[in-house]
């Protein structure tokens, strides 16, 4: 019989480092293959690779919490541990983009760059997916005999914030309105 959630039931490596490392590995493979495959000269496969590793990387970034939570939750990962594990692909991608941005912008601009809608939308979507993953894990835990409340404020707020961010930054005016708000912030803060 499967056991219910017991905090800290497995070692830090098994309950956090393993799920987080696996997320990082999958992201790295997708990023590496997408970045370099086109240079190998297999045009017939290139489109398929673009879908699996190009678009797939973005989709994986958002869906990563579903996988990370299912691996971390029942190994006893604490709240912040499973949340972080789910955020690993996004954080890796963010660091990669910031590294490139730092070659063009000042440190202050680079920090502000991280607040751009592409990053914020993904951050909030990952947060929303973490909320979904948490609820799924709680339902599974309940079925395994765990004693807990499934629908609490925190995961529901995470889901709602993700939807709100998606609307504000991508759907409202096709993302253009938010972009100009972001630009206004830049004009107010920096000497361009």
């Amino acid at each position: 019989m499967k056991t219910s959630y017991q905090p800290g039931s497995q070692s830090f490596w098994m309950r956090f480092a393993f799920p987080a490392g696996l997320m990082l590995l999958i992201w790295l493979i997708q990023r590496f293959v997408y970045t370099y495959f086109w240079q190998l000269g297999f045009p017939a496969l290139q489109e398929a690779v673009a879908w699996v590793c190009g678009l797939g990387e973005r989709i994986f970034m958002v869906l990563a919490p579903l996988l990370a939570y299912s691996l971390a939750y029942f190994r006893g990962a604490r709240g912040w541990e499973r949340l972080t594990a789910g955020f690993v692909p996004f954080l890796a991608s963010l660091l990669f983009e910031l590294y490139k941005a730092a070659g063009v912008f000042s440190p202050g601009e680079t920090a502000y760059y991280a607040l751009g809608s592409p990053f914020l939308v993904f951050a909030f979507l990952v947060l929303a997916m973490s909320g979904v993953a948490e609820i799924i894990c709680r339902i599974r835990n309940l079925r395994r005999g765990g004693q807990l409340r499934v629908w609490t404020l925190l995961p529901l707020s995470a889901i709602l914030s993700g939807l709100a961010a998606l609307f504000l930054m991508m759907i409202w005016g096709g993302g253009v309105h938010w972009f100009y708000i972001y630009q206004s912030g830049y004009l107010a803060l920096f000497d361009f």
Partner: protein, 463 residues
């Protein structure tokens, strides 16, 4: 005996030579220094219609062999004028390029360096100078420069929009008509602006006018009108081999608003361009209908190019050909003796203001950094410029470094303002700029000359 009779006396030959020499001495300079504008031959100055589109890259025209898009009206214009196949912008970005068209100067001179730095109201535009020369002038369409709307001197009509930070909307875009907020009368922006342009032409057909018609199209979101939507669905687009469907989903490209697959965006772009071509046809037809054809200069040009996956890039800004090269067609019936010519000489956006002034018989201010293209329009043998400076300034949040480059007829050398290594391309052998010659023997041979040219151009000197 007969031979002696047929012999032309030496005296006659000498007087013939003398006459020819006198004619050359007197008439030659007259021709040389004659005003290039039509004003010399006719009391009435030529009308000028300047049509500017957004993001229309140079080869997206059916006449130039594009496999999908249909541009019959632009093709017609090309057949009736001179089509510059090596036309470029000195900064491949909307606001700086637009300011360069208006002022005839580089971005580092007019000050609109990117989409953030505002227009300086002290800048002098060719519209202002034409107004001083007696023209009735109108600016209709996209202004799109940072800051509040400008106080443009010398405009009789100023119709523009401020929606979406000046980008406007394809449908139901509210306008600012001579300072008054005005709702859109027609749903589609390109058609609406064309309607205003046609009305201006009709109202002013009895006097010399200059119409500056600046479209939102074909900028993203690439929205064609309903009747054209889907026209190129299913067509093979022949996208570059290094591209793929999700280039546009690169995080640095998301700011360009290109969220869907590449081919989906590209088809919409081509459909929007086809719609724009239709509206340009309405302008050309109106010129004919008003009987103005022989006395009207029509210029068509794009504000910058656009990448569709080349170099695995989207958008513009970079110094590669797809980004910096634009369509440029000039129809001037009284001036061009060989319509339909494809001119290979390098023409720049900063050349348009001096060219229009020259054609109107107005003195070109010394402050203008471009040169008149009139000699090339008149004579296909004119060599054109040897080299020119490309510049791009940081434009947050687009992650592209400061760029300066020199482009000659056959080579391009690019320097970046960050750790990105410089690039050197042989454009004749490698037109797609895939092989950087830096570090090769050939590159080492070419580099000193190109670097020297770039340094001269940076200092404002001729190379």
């Amino acid at each position: 005996m007969i031979r002696d009779k047929m012999k032309i006396p030496r005296r006659v030959i000498l007087s013939l030579i003398k006459t020819i020499l006198i004619l050359v001495a007197v008439v030659g300079p007259m021709e040389l220094f004659a005003p290039t504008g039509w004003a010399a031959a006719d009391d009435r100055k030529p009308n000028i219609i300047f049509i500017l589109t957004d993001d229309h890259r140079w080869d997206a025209m059916s006449k130039l062999g594009h496999p999908v898009v249909e541009t019959p009206r632009l093709d017609r214009l090309s057949d009736e004028g001179v089509h510059f196949t090596n036309a470029f912008v000195t900064t491949s970005l909307c606001s700086p390029s637009r300011a360069s068209f208006l002022t005839g100067t580089y971005a580092h001179t007019h000050g609109v360096k990117n989409n953030l730095t505002p227009w300086n109201n002290q800048n002098v535009t060719f519209l202002e100078l034409l107004k001083q020369a007696g023209y009735t002038t109108a600016f209709i369409g996209k202004w799109h420069m940072p800051g509040s709307l400008p106080r443009l001197r010398g405009l009789d009509r100023f119709i523009t929009f401020t929606a979406q930070a000046g980008q406007g909307r394809y449908f139901d875009c509210p306008l600012i008509v001579d300072g008054q907020p005005t709702p859109s009368r027609k749903p589609y922006i390109t058609e609406e602006l064309t309607d205003y342009a046609l009305a201006f032409m009709a109202q002013n057909s009895a006097r010399a006018f200059c119409l500056y018609l600046s479209h939102k199209a074909v900028h993203h979101q690439f929205l064609p009108p309903p009747e054209i939507r889907g026209r190129y669905r299913g067509r093979d687009l022949y996208l570059p081999p290094e591209s793929d469907a999700w280039i546009s989903f690169n995080l640095n490209h998301i700011y360009c608003g290109l969220l869907g697959p590449l081919s989906w965006n590209y088809r919409k772009y081509l459909e929007t361009l086809h719609a724009t071509d239709r509206e340009i046809g309405r302008v050309l037809d109106k010129v004919d209908e008003l009987g103005l054809r022989d006395n009207t200069i029509v210029v068509y040009v794009g504000d910058n190019g656009f990448f569709w996956g080349e170099h695995r890039l989207m958008d513009k800004r970079w110094a590669y050909e797809e980004s910096i090269r634009v369509p440029l067609i000039v129809r001037a019936p009284g001036l061009i003796r060989d319509p339909g010519r494809l001119a290979p000489q390098m023409a720049l956006n900063i050349d348009l203001a001096p060219t229009l002034l020259d054609m109107a018989g107005v003195a070109i201010p010394a402050s203008m950094e471009g040169v008149s293209l009139v000699p090339i329009l008149r004579d296909s043998r004119q060599p054109g410029r040897r080299a020119w400076l490309y510049e791009y300034f940081k434009d947050f949040p687009y992650r592209i470094p400061h760029i300066r480059a020199v482009r000659t007829q056959n080579y391009k050398y690019i320097e970046y303002g960050n750790h990105r290594p410089p690039e050197l391309f042989d454009l004749a052998r490698d037109p797609r700029e895939m092989s950087n010659l830096m570090g090769t023997t050939r590159g080492r041979d070419l580099l000193p000359g190109l670097q020297a040219m770039l340094e001269k151009l940076k200092k404002g000197q001729r190379p």
